[in-house]
Symmetry: C2
DNA sequence: TTGTAGGCGTTATCAC
DNA sequence: GTGATAACGCCTACAA
């Protein structure tokens, strides 16, 4: 099982290693037929260039580091898939590490990856964005980093983000337009910029439609089903049931719906519910969940493209790409289907 | 941003590179205080051993390849997490590739990883196990490969699998014990050994309890919610509604439940439903879904341990580890709660 | 205990 | 167009 090396091929054909090397790297002059001969016999001999040696001599790893909050999260699963597909196609390997929504773990991951000589990093920061100073420093040093989601305009360097405010606004307006009185927003952790942006959209809709402050509430839930459950249970306990709830994501929405049902409330008849960052569950639950879909795959791919641009040209300008999604209205948020929403 | 190398450290301390190298690799004799001095100044200088050079000189990549059917699948997300944690801790990097339930893609992935010099492979084969001959060949050549899930006893080499038959038997028996008449099994793709094993368990329970063949059916569904939906819709169309359904996994179960409800059937009152390979959704849906939980994390970790054993000792004997799980009974499968099941 | 030197498989800079 | 040869950064006999 010994690996065939460039030397073996050279010896077999009585040419020098450099010639063989040239045959595999288009950038040098080499006679066409010698090239073809080399490629052919190399294939016969089962030769594959050793990527590790290549990396060493070129002083680049051809590895890209990807740091995400959690793999068990449809959004980031899709991110990984998209990134893998694109980057492998471009000749890179992808090293994925997850931070468990923990800033320290995130920093550890990033340092591990840097020590492993990745050529660049794609980072979806965890709650709190606590390592921004460190990243800013690296970016200033010229280290290629692209942020994905989880940051706002103010983050340094290049980034691909979703227009949370806008789509949160639309989702909220959809509820307002049904003349619902009390509309609550179950927000994500308040120290996440994504949460803040969705809150902004929610407030903007309230202001535009002149809803008075007594008729809406913003309650910090989190990102997990359990957190949606807790919040709604608390509301039920205090007999403070809204007509509609706009949740920071589908998981919180599903948790809320579960507990509403368990307590005898009907969705959407008693309480209309809207989610965000559509998951595959949205269509699978009863009632089906209205939600805002993000172009996850494209966002990730864009981040990959941006990163490669920075790796290949260290003077490439920082870019901020803000993407849009779509809002799909399903049963969970339509109280009166004659209203023409479905 | 130039990387500090072993030479820089050596020069600074007026020692040889080998001494520095030794300081970082415990296996050679070196005086304790020189070692400490070297480690200390190396740290000051910001030196980190270059893993790529290390790999080249040691002729091993310290990379492990992991090939799974799909990342968007809670089971395999967890597998990745477990493997990452364990292998990174052991000094390895993990390269994950997914096959999209496609045998050709799987083979491509494996070859890519081998060409990238991974030191070993953990493979969860896709439907059909079409590449077993190729793997058998590699294993005979001494290439370290461990299979995870998705294979049966007959697969070559080491493997970590779940006792599907046993737990499928238990789940089925739970339904039989409620004196339900018609019990159907929505199976996975018939060319998956996992499906076959679960079918075996189902049949075994039927035989043990002497259920006549008219009273049960095995219908091939698949692995996706949509496939569960299709099967149940067909049954509804033919007015062939069973008293209980045991599904090959939670996704198929959720699909079936959805369509049952859409068509006015109550779960579990009209139809009891059981899933398999418990997902986080099991507790989140209404009614909560009874399901068999697999020790995913432990299975993956075991696979990692086995692989390292093979990498470190090429004469390590092939091992087959069969794991057990637990069956959690929830509302979806209990028709009469006075029966004492809940 | 420490230093010297050759090798890991490539690429890249020279000559020729 | 092709061949020597010195890197790339580290490990590891072997010698001292």
């Amino acid at each position: 099982m010994k690996h065939v090396t460039i030397k073996d091929v050279a010896k077999r054909l009585n040419v020098s290693v450099s010639t063989v090397s040239r045959a595999f790297n288009d950038k040098y002059d080499i006679r066409k037929d010698t090239k073809e001969l080399i490629l052919k016999t190399a294939k016969e001999m089962g030769y594959h260039p050793n990527p590790i040696a290549k990396k060493l001599s070129q002083n680049r790893s051809l590895n890209i580091g990807v740091v995400i909050p959690e793999i068990i999260n449809e959004y980031y699963s899709e991110v990984i898939i998209a990134l893998q597909e694109f980057l492998i196609y471009k000749g890179y390997q992808v090293l994925v590490m997850q931070s468990d929504e923990n800033g320290e773990q995130e920093l550890k991951n990033v340092k591990t990856l840097i020590n492993n000589m990745v050529d660049g990093l794609i980072i979806a920061p965890t709650t709190g964005n606590s390592n921004m100073d460190f990243y800013r420093q690296r970016i200033n040093d010229g280290y290629p980093i692209v942020f994905l989601n989880r940051v706002d305009d103010s983050a340094p360097g290049s980034k691909v983000i979703f227009n949370n405010e806008k789509w949160s606004f639309f989702a909220t307006e959809h509820l307002i337009r049904q003349n619902l009185n009390k509309i609550y927003h179950f927000s994500g952790y308040l120290d996440m910029c994504v949460s803040q942006e969705r809150i902004q959209g929610f407030k903007k809709a309230m202001n535009k439609h002149k809803i008075s402050k007594e008729n809406y509430k913003i309650i910090e839930a989190g990102l997990l089903p359990e957190e949606g459950m807790e919040v709604i249970e608390d509301l039920i306990f205090h007999h403070d049931i809204p007509d509609a709830i706009f949740c920071v994501n589908d998981m919180v929405a599903l948790g809320a719906i579960k507990k509403l049902k368990d307590n005898g409330y009907r969705v959407p008849e008693d309480v209309a519910v809207v989610g965000f960052t559509e998951t595959r569950m949205a269509e699978l639950v009863s009632p089906q969940l209205s939600s805002v879909k993000q172009p996850t795959y494209d966002m990730a791919k864009k981040a990959g493209e941006l990163l490669l641009r920075h790796i290949e040209d260290e003077n490439a300008p920082a870019e901020t790409i803000i993407m849009n999604g779509e809002f799909t209205i399903r049963k969970s948020s339509v109280k009166n289907s004659s209203a023409g929403y479905l």
